[in-house]
C-alpha cells in the first residue's frame, strides 16, 4: 500500500537552531498519526512545512507515491492538504463564510464573489459540524472559542481534503466540544483521510491515533503503534528523549 504522505529526511534551521532535524514520517489513508513532544520540539514547524507555510532546507515530500513540490500554502491545497492551525488563522474582521472560503471564493458568472451561495454552503456544513452555530454573518471576532474552532475545522473539511493536519484542535475547547472533534476525527478517518494530529493530551492521543511519533529538540525520537505502548512509555519518550528499546 502506498503511503498517502512520506516525509523524507526533512530539515529546517532558523538562524543557528535546527528546528527540524532529519525527520522522516509517513501517513497512510484512513490513519491518524499523532505528533507528541514538548513545546518547541519542532512538531508545529514540521507540519507547517507540509502545509506550505515554511520552506524546508533539506528533504523530500512524497504524496501518494509521487514527489511533491510544496512551496506555498496554495501548493499544499492543490495536493488536497488542509490544515487547522493552532492559531486558527481566521481573519477576525470577516464573517464565517468569508473565512471558510478565503482564497477559494465562490464566484458568480460575472466573476464577482457570491456571498449568498457561500453563506448557504456555510449553513449546510455548520449544520453538520456544530448545530449550535448561528452567527453566520457576524465577524468571527464576535464568536466564542469553540465556534471559531468550528469555522477553522469547517474550512479544512469542506474542500474534500485527503490529508488533514490538525494542530491542537481541542486546545481551546470544553469537554463537550472536544468530544465532538474526537467524533469528527473518527468519522473522517473512516472516510479514508490521513490525519496528522498534534496534541499535548497524551491520553486523548492514545485514544484517537493509530501511531504516535515523539519529537524532541527537532529530532524524531521514535514512532510507535499505540497498541504496543502505554501512556508511561510515551511520557518517558517525551521527557527522556529516548526511543523505547533503549529505555
Amino acid at each position: 500500500m502506498t503511503p498517502l504522505v512520506e516525509l523524507k529526511n526533512i530539515s529546517l534551521s532558523f538562524g543557528g537552531v535546527r528546528a527540524v532535524d532529519n525527520v522522516s514520517l509517513d501517513l497512510f489513508p484512513g490513519e491518524v498519526v499523532g505528533l507528541l513532544g514538548h513545546n518547541g520540539a519542532g512538531k508545529s514547524t514540521l507540519i507547517k512545512i507540509l502545509a506550505g507555510a515554511y520552506q524546508m532546507d533539506e528533504g523530500e515530500i512524497w504524496i501518494e507515491g509521487k514527489k511533491a513540490n510544496i512551496h506555498s500554502p496554495r501548493d499544499a491545497r492543490r495536493h488536497n492538504i488542509e490544515t487547522i492551525y493552532q492559531t486558527l488563522a481566521l481573519a477576525d474582521n470577516l464573517d464565517a463564510p468569508s473565512n471558510l472560503f478565503l482564497g477559494r471564493e465562490l464566484t458568480n458568472r460575472f466573476g464577482l464573489v457570491d456571498d449568498a451561495q457561500m453563506e448557504a454552503e456555510t449553513r449546510k456544513i455548520m449544520a453538520r459540524l456544530n448545530p449550535n452555530f448561528k452567527k453566520i454573518s457576524e465577524p468571527v471576532s464576535a464568536l466564542s472559542g469553540g465556534q471559531r474552532q468550528s469555522v477553522a475545522i469547517a474550512r479544512a473539511v469542506y474542500f474534500n481534503a485527503k490529508i488533514l493536519i490538525m494542530d491542537e484542535p481541542t486546545a481551546a475547547l470544553g469537554v463537550h466540544e472536544s468530544k465532538m472533534v474526537a467524533d469528527l476525527i473518527k468519522e473522517l478517518k473512516a472516510q479514508g483521510l490521513g490525519i496528522f494530529l498534534i496534541s499535548h493530551d497524551t491520553r486523548e492521543m492514545l485514544d484517537l491515533c493509530d501511531r504516535v511519533s515523539v519529537m524532541k529538540n527537532g529530532a524524531l525520537i521514535g514512532t510507535e503503534k499505540v497498541g504496543d505502548v502505554t501512556e508511561d512509555d510515551i511520557l518517558s519518550m517525551i521527557i527522556m528523549g529516548k526511543a523505547r528499546d533503549a529505555a
Binding site: A51, A53, S72, P73, R74, R77, T83, Y85, T87, L88, A89, L90, A91, D92, N93, L94, S98, N99, L102, G103, R104, E105, T107, G111, L112, V113, D115, A116, Q117, E119, A120, R123, M126, A127, R128, L129, N130, P131, P139, S141, A142, M180, V181, D183, L184, E187
Partner: protein, 438 residues
C-alpha cells in the same frame, strides 16, 4: 458530529420578522453611517444658522461638492491602503507629480513632439493617460518597496513625500504651467457640468439602478431562504435613497449660471441671449467621476476577490498568507490602485485651478488620511468603507468652508479641524467598544 436530530434543529430558523427588533434594526441600516450622516447634517445646520442661511444655498452646496471631489477620490484609495495596515503619506506629492506630468504633456511635450496643441481633441486624453501611467507606476514601485523589500510603508511614503513633491518642482522649474487644455479643464467642476436635462436623466437612472440593486439583493436572499427585511422597511429605504438622489440633483440644478456669463457665452457664439433665458449648472463631470469611482471601489471592496483579500489581509495577515493569498503582490496592487486614483484626482485638482501650480496638493495627504479615518477606517486594519471615507471628506470640507464663511481666522480653522479628527476617532473607539469587539 453528525446526528440527524441536530440537522433538523438547524433547519428551524428564527422567524425573519421577530417582533422584538427595533425600528432601526429592521431597516438594517448601519448605525455608524447614520451617526455620520447625522453629524454632517448638524454641521450644515449650525453653519446655516451662523451664516444667516448662506451655507445651504444651491450655490454653496455646488461649491462644497466640487471642492470635496479631489480629496474624496484619493480617500477611497486610502481606505484600501489603511485597511491593509499601511499608510500613504505621499499622496499630495504624487498628485503634484501627476499634475506636473499632465501639464507638461499638454503644454510642452505634445506640441513639440507630435505638434498637437492645446485644443486638439486628443490632447486631454493623452495627458490623462500619461498621468495615469505616472501615478500607477509610482504607486506600484512604492508598493513593491513595501511588499517585497518589506520597508515600512510609513518610511517609503515619507521619503516619497519629499521625492515626488520635488520631482514635480524639478519638472516644471517651480513655475505655474497653464492654461491647460479646455476639454481637460471640464473635469475641474464649474467649467464642465451636465446641464439641467442630462442631470435629471442621470438622477433618474441612478434611482432606477439603486432600486434594482435593492430588489435583486432581496430576491437573492429569498432564493437562498435567508431572513429578509419586512416589505415596509425595504420601501422606506428605497424612498430615502430615491429622495436623496433626486434632492441632490434638484439642488445642483437650482444653481443657475450667472446672467453675465450666459451673455458672454452667447456672444462668443455670435448670438444674442434671448430675454428671460436661464440655464442651470447641474451635475459637474468631476462629481460624476467621483460617483463612478465610489461605485467601482465599493464593488471591488465587497464583491471581488481582490477586495476580500484586502480586508482579510488587514484583519489577519498571517491567516491571509496561510490561505494562499499573495500578500506581497496584494500590497503592490493596493498602492498601484492608490496611484491611479491620485492621477485622476490630479486631473480634477489641476483642472479646477485651470493650471498646474507648484504647491498643488500640499497637505492633501493629511486631508485624505483624515477623511478616511473620520469615515470609520481603522488604522489597526481590516475595517473601513468607501462611502464612509467620502462622507468623511465631505464633513471636513464642510467644516473648513463653513468656518471660512463665518469668518473664523485661518489658524483657528485648522485647530478645529485637528480637534474634530481626534474627537471623531475617539467616538469611533467608544462606539466599537460598546458593540463588543466589532
Amino acid at each position: 458530529m453528525t446526528d440527524t436530530t441536530t440537522e433538523t434543529g438547524a433547519a428551524v430558523r428564527p422567524s425573519p420578522t421577530a417582533p422584538k427588533r427595533s425600528f432601526l434594526s429592521q431597516l438594517e441600516i448601519d448605525t455608524r453611517l447614520l451617526g455620520m450622516i447625522g453629524a454632517f447634517i448638524l454641521v450644515c445646520l449650525v453653519f446655516n444658522v451662523l451664516t444667516d442661511g448662506r451655507f445651504l444655498t444651491p450655490r454653496n452646496i455646488f461649491n462644497l461638492t466640487i471642492q470635496t471631489v479631489s480629496v474624496a477620490i484619493m480617500a477611497t484609495g486610502m481606505v484600501f491602503v489603511i485597511v491593509t495596515r499601511h499608510i500613504d503619506l505621499s499622496v499630495g506629492a504624487m498628485l503634484a507629480t501627476c499634475s506636473a506630468a499632465m501639464a507638461m504633456t499638454q503644454t510642452d511635450i505634445l506640441p513639440r513632439l507630435l505638434g498637437l496643441g492645446l485644443g486638439h481633441p486628443l490632447t486631454p486624453w493623452i495627458a490623462i493617460a500619461v498621468g495615469l501611467v505616472v501615478g500607477i507606476s509610482i504607486g506600484a514601485f512604492q508598493g513593491w518597496l513595501i511588499g517585497f523589500l518589506t520597508i515600512p510603508a510609513f518610511i517609503v511614503t515619507l521619503g516619497g513625500l519629499l521625492i515626488w513633491r520635488n520631482v514635480a518642482w524639478y519638472m516644471t522649474d517651480g513655475q505655474t504651467i497653464g492654461p491647460l487644455d479646455e476639454t481637460f479643464r471640464k473635469f475641474g467642476g464649474i467649467n464642465g457640468t451636465l446641464g439641467e436635462t442630462w442631470s435629471w436623466v442621470v438622477g433618474v437612472i441612478a434611482v432606477l439602478a439603486a432600486l434594482w440593486a435593492l430588489w435583486s439583493a432581496r430576491s437573492n436572499k429569498i432564493n437562498h431562504g435567508f431572513p429578509i427585511k419586512p416589505v415596509w422597511a425595504e420601501i422606506l429605504v428605497g424612498l430615502i435613497i430615491a429622495g436623496g438622489i433626486m434632492g441632490f440633483v434638484a439642488t445642483l440644478n437650482a444653481y443657475e449660471v450667472p446672467t453675465a456669463r450666459l451673455i458672454r457665452e452667447f456672444k462668443a457664439r455670435g448670438d444674442v441671449m434671448p430675454d428671460g433665458y436661464a440655464a442651470a449648472y447641474g451635475i459637474p463631470y468631476s462629481v460624476l467621476l467621483l460617483i463612478a469611482i465610489a461605485i467601482g471601489m465599493t464593488v471591488m471592496a465587497r464583491r471581488t476577490r481582490l477586495g476580500r483579500y484586502i480586508f482579510a489581509t488587514g484583519g489577519n495577515p498571517d491567516a491571509a498568507e496561510l490561505s494562499g493569498i499573495n500578500t506581497r503582490l496584494l500590497t503592490v496592487k493596493v498602492f498601484a490602485l492608490m496611484g491611479g486614483l491620485i492621477a485622476l484626482s490630479a486631473v480634477v485638482a489641476s483642472a479646477r485651478l485651470t493650471n498646474h501650480s507648484n504647491d498643488i496638493g500640499t497637505l492633501d495627504e493629511l486631508r485624505v488620511i483624515a477623511a478616511a479615518v473620520i469615515g470609520g477606517t481603522a488604522l489597526a486594519g481590516g475595517i473601513g468603507t468607501i462611502h464612509g471615507a467620502i462622507l468623511g471628506a465631505l464633513i471636513m470640507q464642510s467644516l473648513q468652508s463653513g468656518m471660512a464663511m463665518v469668518g473664523v481666522d485661518a489658524p483657528l480653522q485648522n485647530i478645529v479641524v485637528g480637534a474634530v479628527l481626534v474627537l471623531a476617532v475617539w467616538i469611533d473607539i467608544v462606539y466599537r467598544r460598546r458593540l463588543g469587539g466589532k
